[in-house]
Symmetry: C2
Subunit: 417 residues, 2 copies
């Protein structure tokens, strides 16, 4: 059983895979509010200026700035308040020299005004009731032209590109579109990802275990990650360790979906079979036999007609780590996203030595513990067959490819699940 690896660093492996992966060309036209987590399929332009009228950013008085020139505590300017701008309607107050209008935050600036005076810098004369117009105010500070005013188009100008093609839509993007009255939007269709588990020892999670058997969990952890990252998972079930069965199942799955994930047994023979099956599915077939990571080195990457294929190790920790590193970016690529949204991490001090080898990227399941001296990363050591090392972890401590591990007390980066 000769073992042949064509191993690449994970970043290069990802590049290779994404470089061969096509993206969806079909588009859906959907309600903007339902577009959270989808990806734009064309640029979006502003149909009008935002704001579309000059607005006050303060509670105060709309004034002509010139009327406040030189105002100070010792020599206040005196203005006559002749009106009030009602919220939500056109400002109709006409201001002559020396006149001002009450205005609220968000109110429309009257045509004759060019600044807003903060209420805190004024006082009504003779404590007269401010609700009875007109009344006089003393002004203790000058305002500049444009002060406390949101100008027309200050947020977005008519005709400008507000979102590019390939943009992953977040809460604020939905808000930005609706602010412009864009209530429908074109997005790429959602890719579907077929998931096949192989292994004569694997049974459905609903089954009763006999000795020698284990339940399929990889199909479900991968499917969960697919859902969380904008794909539609389809669990295709368990296939025996048999070339013809796997080829048929893989071929059918690939035909009906945009991506294929095979979680294979971990033995060399089963892995070799996966490689052969992927090569038989079409061109270019297998791209890579291994990724320089631990866990998950014996990962197989392939592409057939622009559809990515991942042959993941059967060990649940390896499968999940490799899917996070390679599968998730592939889903975003399939969705037409220009880039994978940045996964968050936290910095913490590692509680003990973490050995590694240079030339390999390690991902160590890690607890995060709040202490009086800050966040501590406590590695959860265990073989990569042990799913509970991940259950008991808050994230993955990443040992970069050029490092020989970390010493206790060093700052490390923990990628959050």
């Amino acid at each position: 059983m000769p073992e042949f690896f064509n191993v690449l660093a994970p970043d290069r492996a990802k590049e290779l895979l994404l470089g061969h992966t096509g993206h969806r060309t079909k588009v859906d036209r959907i309600t903007t509010f339902r577009a959270l987590g989808r990806v734009t399929s064309s640029s979006v332009f502003a149909p009008h200026d935002l704001p579309s009228f000059r607005r006050s950013s303060m509670d105060g008085y709309a004034v002509k700035a010139l009327d406040t020139f030189g105002a100070s505590n010792s020599l206040p300017a005196i203005l006559t308040v002749v009106g009030e701008v009602a919220m939500g309607s056109t400002a109709k107050v006409v201001l002559a020299a020396g006149e001002a209008s009450l205005i609220h935050t968000g109110g429309m600036i009257p045509p004759d005004a060019d600044a807003v005076l903060q209420i805190e810098h004024t006082q009504t004369v003779e404590s007269k009731d401010a609700s009875q117009l007109p009344f006089e105010i003393e002004v203790y500070r000058p305002v500049a032209v444009g002060q406390n005013i949101l100008m027309v188009g200050e947020d977005v100008q008519e005709g400008s590109e507000v979102l590019p093609d390939g943009h992953y839509l977040r809460a604020q993007d939905i808000g930005g579109l609706l602010a412009l009255g864009i209530t429908e939007i074109q997005v790429y269709t959602t890719p579907t990802i077929a998931i096949i588990a192989t292994g004569d020892e694997i049974i459905e999670p609903t089954g009763d275990l006999d000795y020698g058997q284990i339940r399929d969990i990889n199909s479900y952890t991968i499917a969960s990650l697919v859902s969380q990252n904008g794909g539609i998972p389809e669990i295709c079930g368990i296939v025996n360790d048999d070339f013809d069965s796997l080829l048929e199942a893989a071929s059918t799955a690939l035909h009906g979906h945009d991506m294929l994930v095979i979680t294979a047994g971990s033995s060399v023979s089963v892995r070799d079979m996966t490689v052969q099956v992927i090569d038989r599915l079409g061109d270019p077939g297998v791209l890579l036999h291994g990724v320089a990571t631990r866990p998950g080195k014996p990962t197989v990457l392939g592409v057939v007609e622009g559809k990515p294929i991942l042959g993941l190790p059967g060990n649940p920790v390896s499968a999940m780590v490799q899917f996070l590193v390679l599968g998730v970016p592939a889903i975003f690529r399939l969705q037409g996203a220009k880039r994978t949204p940045t996964k968050g991490s936290v910095r913490a001090r590692v509680s003990r030595n973490v050995p590694s080898a240079s030339g390999r990227e390690d991902y160590v399941p890690t607890r995060l513990i709040e202490t009086s001296e800050g966040l501590v990363a406590e590695p959860v050591f265990g073989k990569s067959n042990l799913i509970y090392t991940l259950v008991n972890a808050a994230g993955l401590l990443k040992v970069p490819i050029n490092r020989n591990g970390f010493e206790a007390g060093e700052w490390v980066e923990v990628l959050l699940f």
Copy 2:
């Protein structure tokens, strides 16, 4: 118009709110695979050991460790391979002294064996065809008892608590449960969050703007964040700036939901009205009039009968930042989660000076730019009325409460959206 603030630091404000917030007591019993993102409502215990039988973690030979004692390149031990463990079935091979069995990764260890010999440390004698049993191998290294074996219960022991009450379920947790055959699970019911927008100037996003009007976007950005964090949003529409209308709408919304969010106009008078309305809804009512953050200082926090109420500023950036800081933890608390899942961040060098004031926590919308010298955080400056400062940002640069801003080139933490 007297302005009264009882301002707390954001961490203390959050503590205050969560301290008064009750959590769901009803539970759903659901399929484990559908439980991603839900929260356990009771501890979960392992019904059996995992693994439930001794498994090989390597491709190789199951042996008696004693038979390899002292084996070396110059003096190999000789073993007779008398069988092969088939994947997925009980290992029936009987080993006498000096005998071994072929075994694959994940295979069941035969009863008489106590170690697995890696195939790389052996060689078949006379290059005999290894598929024909029995055959002899030379062993070049000794193995210790237990080596390359996953022991019974090494992942999880029967009867141990695998998940506590109040645990937020991630992909690996689903996997861990299914590995144990736990295909149904009890979780807290999903909380519903009512969202009311107020302001005479606000219209539905579908509407045509007149001068002085703006479209409601806060309801939709908040609803998006609610969905992303496990709640069910209900957009209750726009209410005029009128005490009785707001009281009636708020009362109805609170009655039918687990949490209430009011995005109010930003003027002092409207904010005061929101405070009065929250106080009229029940006990204890308003907890706090302000949070020491920018943007979003004039946030109102209240609780009525364990249901949190947020009165958010009308400015879209303020509303979103405050909802991330205070609303999201409240949703997790309502879901019964013991803690809010850590939000990821990235570290970057800030491209320019960011002024702030000590005693206040600032959140500055920020772009993230990959450069040859690492990640750079480029603040997107703009008034908090401008939603596109968030659209153009990848995250929020956080200026801690005890800092007077940052200088260009300093390392900063950027919270990802």
